[in-house]
Assembly symmetry: C2
Amino acid sequence: MDKKIEIPDDVKQIADFAKAMSHPVRVYILKKLSSRNSCCYSGDLVDELPIGRSALSQHLKELKHAGLIQGEIEAPFIKYCINKENWGKLKTAFSEYLFNEVDDIILKH
Amino acid sequence: MDKKIEIPDDVKQIADFAKAMSHPVRVYILKKLSSRNSCCYSGDLVDELPIGRSALSQHLKELKHAGLIQGEIEAPFIKYCINKENWGKLKTAFSEYLFNEVDDIILKH
DNA sequence: TAAGTATTTCGCAAAATTACGAAATGATTA
DNA sequence: TAATCATTTCGTAATTTTGCGAAATACTTA
């Protein structure tokens, strides 16, 4: 007599994306890399952000693991850029999650 | 010679909202309450979600604390609804964060 | 090969998150 | 008043997150 559901994949997906964005430093990095499609180095970020190198590195690792950024070796640097494909998926997922509501639909008759 | 910045408030705001949405149960609840503006009781949710009463209660508390839902006493129940004002703020903040990018703007001339 | 640069990984510690069952709360019904 | 019902709070434990400095890695230049 249980009506227990398994939480749907699209809901889990939003939670995963949200977790990747749940720290100010990561939100800052994503904003920087996604807007005007720029790329940057770990060193650029550590100069402007109020955390140390190793902490930053972990945030980059986390974003990389979430598929939202990618690092390209450009020795002796690593150039980090947005992962356009997955960033696009995130935007689509959030659009649908946030805006596909009955209240937002203007019904024509 | 430090270029260290303080992380801007709009970035922190996104991180706070994202943290509220960083767990599948909370995403599920927000989806349920925001779409078609429905309300529900803790008991409804505990029947369908794969967690216990006390864990659910904590998630509701967290969403309430984030300002995204509100509880109205309707004894012996508590009726939970979306907080429209703050949910609207969340949607605006995410829209701006995700979509105000040069790439998304079609330039007219 | 040695020294230097950019970055990550390791080891650690503090704090936050998540979940549970038991007990407490507050209102209702018998 | 006692029993019941819906829900929250408490106490606890396991896990995850966050951040630091030191050490390691990897590549380049002198």
